[in-house]
Amino acid sequence: MLWRYRKEILLSFFLLLASFIGIKSSNCKILWVKENETSRPQKEFFSHKGIELEKIFINELLSENRRLYEILELKEKSSCSFRKVARVIRMESVGWPTGILLDSGREQSIKKGMTVLDQNGSLVGRVAKVNERTSLVMTLLHPGSKVSGLIQRTREVGILSGGHPGILELNYLPKESEARRGDIMLTSGLSTLYPKGLPIGRVLKVREANSSFFLKITVNPAVSFSKLEEVLIIQ
């Protein structure tokens, strides 16, 4: 009976053996890649195949390295008691993401309400739900997102709200405000949700509405949501 499937059995054995050898040899090589940007066997493989995978592969590693380095620098600068780097594992691929899933959860001591930053230290959002090994982040673009923001130049405070495609709206700033295009927005620190001074974005447009006492200000978020791959979670 078994003899009939000897080829399949042998194939399975060989595939398992090859995988085992591959995993054994790749473990040390992947570490080596991270230290030296690219490994000899991979470099040789790509040059051998003549396929320009090498360039793409090296660029990918370099870009990951750069991002992680930036996050590491940010992590060291940060004065917060809790700092954890997490990877983005799911995000809406179309449009502007209102929710992001991270690869860290309760097991990594992530808690609901923690602040999430990108590699440049700009505000991404906050942790809305925590699972065992994952957590869901509500981004600034979420319709339910409200952040107390401060214009750096004029020191005026307003409420930034999401729910608009790719932009934020700054509300409750009086018509006398001197806000203008290009002004930098930071977190005000007036609420307990976010620490003070985190970059949020730049003022894109200032409009006066006839029927309102307040200005209508559009803010362009500093975070490039479509490029988000790793984030820093702080508390």
């Binding site: 000897r6 080829k7 399949e8 042998l10 194939l11 060989f14 595939l15 053996l17 090859a18 995988s19 085992f20 050898i21 591959g22 995993i23 054994k24 040899s25 790749s26 090589k29 066997p41 991979q42 040789e44 493989f45 040059s47 051998h48 195949k49 003549g50 396929i51 320009e52 995978l53 793409i56 592969f57 990918e60």
Partner: protein, 163 residues
């Protein structure tokens, strides 16, 4: 049904052909690049041998040749063994399932498909499946180039191994 009995391959001839394919691989990598793409003579040999002989010996040979190729030329050790074994098995399986005759053209098609599969496997092993879409033209050139070289080597391989 009359079955034409084929001469069984001789082990020294097979090993000699394999050795030759390793030498050709070295030459091909250095001098036979087409638009920076080097052919894979070992893969060609594996596909040819799996098509004609198949079975346990072809699988073992694929595993050994893949391992040796990884050690001697390039790549993470084990990846070529994995790809070669799978390709060898698929070729034997398809040949028997579809009852394909041992003609010239089916073998050329198998070399083409095998080469295509090989690059896809490699991209997966090197954790770069996302570039496959960009590389389709190059994968096609690699597969066509291997198929063309196979047409040149076919009679030599057949005579050398099966007499």
């Amino acid at each position: 049904m009359i079955r034409v009995k084929k001469n069984p391959p001789h082990l020294p001839n097979i090993l000699l052909a394999l050795l030759l394919s390793f030498v050709l691989q070295w030459v091909g990598t250095k001098y036979l690049r087409l638009n920076k793409i080097a052919p894979d003579f070992i893969l060609i040999f594996i596909i040819f041998f799996s098509f004609h002989s198949g079975g346990i010996f072809a699988l073992s040979l694929s595993f050994g040749a893949g391992l040796l190729q990884n050690i001697l030329y390039h790549g993470l050790i084990g990846t070529n063994s994995f790809s070669f074994c799978l390709i060898s098995y698929l070729i034997t399986f398809l040949k028997n399932k579809l009852q394909i005759k041992e003609g010239f053209w089916p073998q050329v098609i198998f070399v083409f498909l095998g080469s295509f599969l090989y690059v896809i496997f490699s991209a997966i092993f090197y954790r770069t499946p996302w570039v496959l879409g960009l590389l389709i033209p190059k994968i096609l050139i690699f597969s066509i180039y291997n198929s063309l070289l196979f047409t040149l080597l076919f009679w030599g391989l057949k005579k050398g191994i099966y007499g």
